[in-house]
């Protein structure tokens, strides 16, 4: 990055605030990929991710007149992105309430939910699919609320407090959602010992 990159950003923001599309596209260029990737982790497919990321970027464009430069542009961008994702989730939730650990109400006994396992044998999958694809498949099985918390935490690096703040939920809820989601992933991904070893060797090589 050139030394005057910051001054460039300021210029681009000023132009974008006047509605300049080209300046805005230049401004958002470095954030596009991250916005798209978080959307992808959240939606689990490229088509919806594309729509959602675009929605977020359009929202940023429309609200850029409100950007006063108090926070860094990046911080401000991801604040809006989070809002868009949260609203997206609320829209989905209006259609369907679903909790991973919600007990199914049977006539007399409460049953623990069995998540349908329509995946292939993990070992086969592991051989056939890229690790990331496999992981995404598992993430896709999480309910959306859990996915959002995971994405905010692991992809955007928000603290628990920030997540609670942005999603307007309690700190305890953030913690429990995060932990349950991780626990779930852990059980699915790391249950198989062989797989476990394969993964850890892969993780080691990634470092």
């Amino acid at each position: 990055m050139p030394a005057n990159a910051k001054s460039l950003d300021v210029d681009l923001v000023a132009l974008s605030q006047q509605g300049d599309i080209y300046a805005f596209e230049e401004l958002i260029k470095n954030h596009k990929s991250k916005i798209y990737n978080t959307a992808y982790r959240l939606t689990g497919n490229h088509h919806d991710a594309s729509d959602l990321a675009q929605e977020a970027i359009i929202k940023i464009y429309k609200s850029i007149t409100g950007f006063r430069g108090d926070a860094s542009f990046g911080t401000w961008v991801y604040h809006i992105v989070t809002n868009v994702y949260r609203d997206h989730l609320r829209k989905l939730n209006r259609l369907q309430e679903d909790y991973l650990d919600a007990p199914l109400k049977a006539k007399e006994n409460e049953l623990t939910r069995q998540v349908a396992d329509n995946r292939m044998n993990p070992a086969v999958l592991y051989e056939n699919l890229e690790l990331s694809e496999y992981l995404q498949k598992v993430i896709n099985e999480l309910p959306e609320e859990y996915r959002l918390v995971i994405v905010l935490r692991e992809q955007l690096g928000y603290s628990y407090g920030e997540i609670a703040d942005k999603l307007e939920i309690s700190l305890g809820t953030v913690k429990s959602r995060l932990n349950r989601a991780r626990k779930y992933l852990q059980q699915i991904i790391l249950a198989e010992r062989e797989l476990n070893q394969g993964l850890s060797s892969l993780i080691d090589t990634r470092r």
């Binding site: 050139p2 005057n4 990159a5 001054s7 460039l8 210029d11 681009l12 132009l15 006047q18 509605g19 300049d20 599309i21 080209y22 300046a23 805005f24 596209e25 230049e26 260029k29 596009k32 990929s33 798209y36 990737n37 992808y40 982790r41 490229h46 991710a49 594309s50 990321a53 675009q54 970027i57 359009i58 464009y61 429309k62 890229e130 990331s132 992981l135 995404q136 995971i150 692991e154 992809q155 628990y160 913690k175 995060l178 932990n179 991780r182 992933l185 852990q186 991904i189 790391l190 476990n196 993964l199 850890s200 993780i203 990634r206």
Partner: protein, 390 residues
């Protein structure tokens, strides 16, 4: 020290892994981990999961992402995506039509349409009479044409009159009506331009010659050419009158000049004129080069854009904005940026020239920008460089 069993410890392990526990609980967990193999294993798995999630590889953006985004931004900029789209009142002639004219007249249909059956309505006998007269009129006219030939369209002189008459009449000109052109434009179009009318007549004459002689459809065929010419002439006139090409295509069009209308040409339409080869402006060589893009931002756009266009031209490049009037070399943009396409080979030279246009506030030129691998492809337009001149 309070006693914790494995279940309670495992509840705390996530926080422990992320170093979120208060010191006291942290020591308790650490102490337990030293003794309990199961919980240690659990911790290592938790750490793996966190690491996996944090190190997910980046997914590439879909190929059409930028393109779609650009279109969506244009839509957002003109507010058409939220359903509050107001058609711009500005006409193609640079004249502003007031909003009242655009607004449709509200009619209460109940008031206007009577509920009587059609044959009982007051105007029925009159309209029937009119229809009959009209019918006989048409029949006799076509017979008259066949027998006496005084409505002979193949004569250029008669046709000339018809043509200008038709041009003068507004309702017939569908093309112009579609464009929402104000009446003033029609008057301009209707001004008798001998040159144009003659060639128009020739066009019509040719058109008629092409028809098989003695065809039964002769009457209709004869009746239509003037209308067609009218549409062409008006659409041409509207282009000339405006000098404004909204939504310019990526490649520049050549300006049509009055004297460039080919008298011998059998067709006056704008497109076929372009296709005639004569129109290919020698200033533009867009097919022959690999282009690099340069985005120019400036506050002093009137001067800088004009000069930038000249510099671009000198290097066989061009301004590739959506809104650009190539006749006048003026960027028709509210925005303060233009995009320049400049052949890769001359990119550095062009940049030097462009830099001389004013004080450079910032110049953002990443290495890959001038790389030849970033060649011009219509579908993968991204910005190569930014130059801000103030």
């Amino acid at each position: 020290m309070a006693k914790y069993d494995c279940e309670e410890i495992q509840e705390l392990l996530y926080d422990y892994a992320e170093n979120l526990l208060p010191v006291r609980q942290k020591t308790i967990v650490a102490h337990h981990l030293g003794k309990c193999a199961a919980c240690s294993k659990e911790l290592s798995q938790i750490k793996q999961i966190i690491s996996l999630l944090q190190n997910l590889p980046e997914e590439p953006l879909p190929q059409d992402f930028d393109e779609k985004l650009h279109l969506a931004l244009i839509a957002a900029a003109s507010n058409i995506d939220e359903g509050n789209f107001k058609p711009k009142a500005a006409s193609a002639f640079g004249e502003t039509v007031s909003e009242e004219k655009v607004e449709p007249i509200k009619l209460n249909i109940q008031d206007v349409v009577p509920k009587k059956p059609i044959w009982q309505r007051a105007y029925f006998p009159r309209s029937m009479a009119a229809a009959i007269i009209l019918f006989f009129g048409i029949i006799s006219a076509s017979y008259a044409n066949d027998y006496f030939g005084f409505w002979n369209f193949s004569s250029g002189k008669v046709l000339n009159q018809t043509s200008s008459l038709e041009i003068g009449e507004q309702p017939i000109c569908d093309t112009a009506a579609d464009e929402g052109a104000p009446a003033a434009a029609f008057t301009k179009a209707a001004e008798p331009n001998t040159e144009r009318n003659i060639s128009a007549a020739e066009g019509a004459g040719l058109g008629e010659d092409a028809l098989p002689a003695g065809s039964t459809d002769n009457t209709t065929a004869k009746a239509f050419p003037p209308v067609g010419i009218c549409g062409d002439a008006v659409s041409l006139a509207s282009r000339e009158g405006s000098g404004v090409h909204e939504y310019m295509p990526l490649l520049p069009e050549t300006p049509i000049k009055e004297n460039s209308v080919d008298k011998g040409s059998s067709n006056m339409s704008f497109n076929s004129h372009m296709a005639s080869g004569e129109a290919a402006d020698k200033n533009y060589y867009w097919q022959d080069y690999d282009y690099a893009k340069l985005m120019l931002l400036t506050k002093n756009k009137e001067d800088v854009f004009k000069q930038a266009a000249i510099i671009a031209k000198n290097f066989k490049g061009y301004i590739c904005n959506d809104f650009y009037d190539y006749n006048k070399d003026v960027a028709l943009t509210e925005q303060n940026s233009v995009m320049l396409d400049i052949p890769v080979d001359d990119f550095d030279n062009a940049l030097t020239k462009l830099s001389a246009l004013g004080d450079i506030k910032s110049c953002y030129l990443p290495d890959e920008d001038t790389d030849k691998t970033y060649t011009f492809k219509e579908n993968s337009i991204t910005y190569r460089s930014i130059l801000i001149i103030f």
